[in-house]
Symmetry: C2
Subunit: 214 residues, 2 copies
């Protein structure tokens, strides 16, 4: 196998990761619509589509043998393999976290999970999570460490919003303990989602530079 | 490189995974002591020791190039690589989840996180999590799919206990919303810990049989 067809294989692998990243973004957007618009159909779509992400992860993993067996890999190729597997894992988990949000929505439907006072902070988390997913997709395309650093800002925003949400829940929350627990968990799912997106970016930086700077 | 030294390398790799598994068990045990005995020192130890797990994961990942480059790998070797990376990732996450429990303890210290009525259910979760960690360690040693199936029982126990905990929190919990949120999150950390242990076992089954049965 020549270097060209090897490069083609790598392109196909990174193509799968880019697709997964877009799908993970679609998943969190759908989960946010389900959550904030009390949209049962959106929640069900997120849950149904999650199998696609899992399948793509398996597809990416299945390519690794091809890439390695038909080519004497050098150190940077092997770094790519480790990074690609970690990235596929992080993107799969992002999809799982969107599913967790969607499941909370379905569990309470037709009652909404987000009472009015929590709408702004959850909207902020939802928007930041969608943005960070888009940036992860971009970083997978550009492999630019400067782009990768941008994700930290959105991640900080999600963390700060989660802190505000928790403060709200523990100081005179008038919608009951069940609601508070639901929202604390939902907030945590967004927080973890953002963390995993940062993890994707971190792996891309490692891939390109050999060191993790994020 | 002969087959012998290749096998030695694989033994070293699986040895690292077995060590990680024992350490992940130690971590959740320490976190449970911290939680149930309001033991600050135990919590701090869990957090400090987590770096060791992360380092071992990196060590396991760093072995993959050696294993692959100096040997023409066959399909089962590559399955091993993918499984080993997934197992190392799952064990690392188990350590992270123990750290999450320990951090809740530190955040509330010297106040305890677990009021008396929740002690039995949290004790049950803690015991089941410790047992499931031990079984994951055993499965890594025996690679016996029947052993691997045993983990499902403990996982079910943790899930059922988490359901009981949540029911308790939402029906007349008299320790406040903050306490309810702390406990809902702690319960979820145990639940995820058990899930990841099942994931370890599932990877071992896949490694041995080429199919996932769990």
């Amino acid at each position: 196998m020549g270097r060209d067809s090897y490069d083609e294989q790598l392109d196909r692998l990174t193509g799968i990761l880019a697709t997964m990243s877009r799908e993970a973004g679609t998943a969190i957007r759908g989960a946010s619509v389900a959550l904030l618009d009390v949209d049962r159909h959106a929640a069900e779509t997120v849950i149904a589509d999650d199998a696609i992400l899992a399948r793509r992860r398996a597809e990416a993993e299945a390519m690794i043998p091809e890439v390695l067996v038909r080519h004497q890999p050098v150190a940077s190729d092997l770094r790519l393999v480790v990074c690609a597997l970690r990235i596929a894992g992080a993107l799969d988990r992002m999809g799982d976290l969107a599913v967790h949000v969607a499941k909370v929505v379905l569990m309470r439907h037709p009652v909404g999970v987000v009472p009015q006072p929590a709408v702004p902070v959850l909207t902020e988390m939802a928007d930041a999570a969608a943005r960070i997913a888009d940036k992860a997709t971009m970083v997978l395309a550009t492999r630019d460490p400067l782009d990768a650093m941008q994700l930290g800002l959105d991640d900080d925003e999600v963390d700060a919003a989660q802190e505000r949400l928790l403060s709200m829940l523990v100081s005179g929350w008038s919608y009951g303990v069940e609601s508070a627990i639901d929202l604390a968990l939902v907030g945590r799912y967004y927080e973890r989602y953002a963390d995993q997106a940062v993890n994707v970016a971190r792996q891309v930086v490692y891939l390109v530079t050999g060191t993790v700077r994020l």
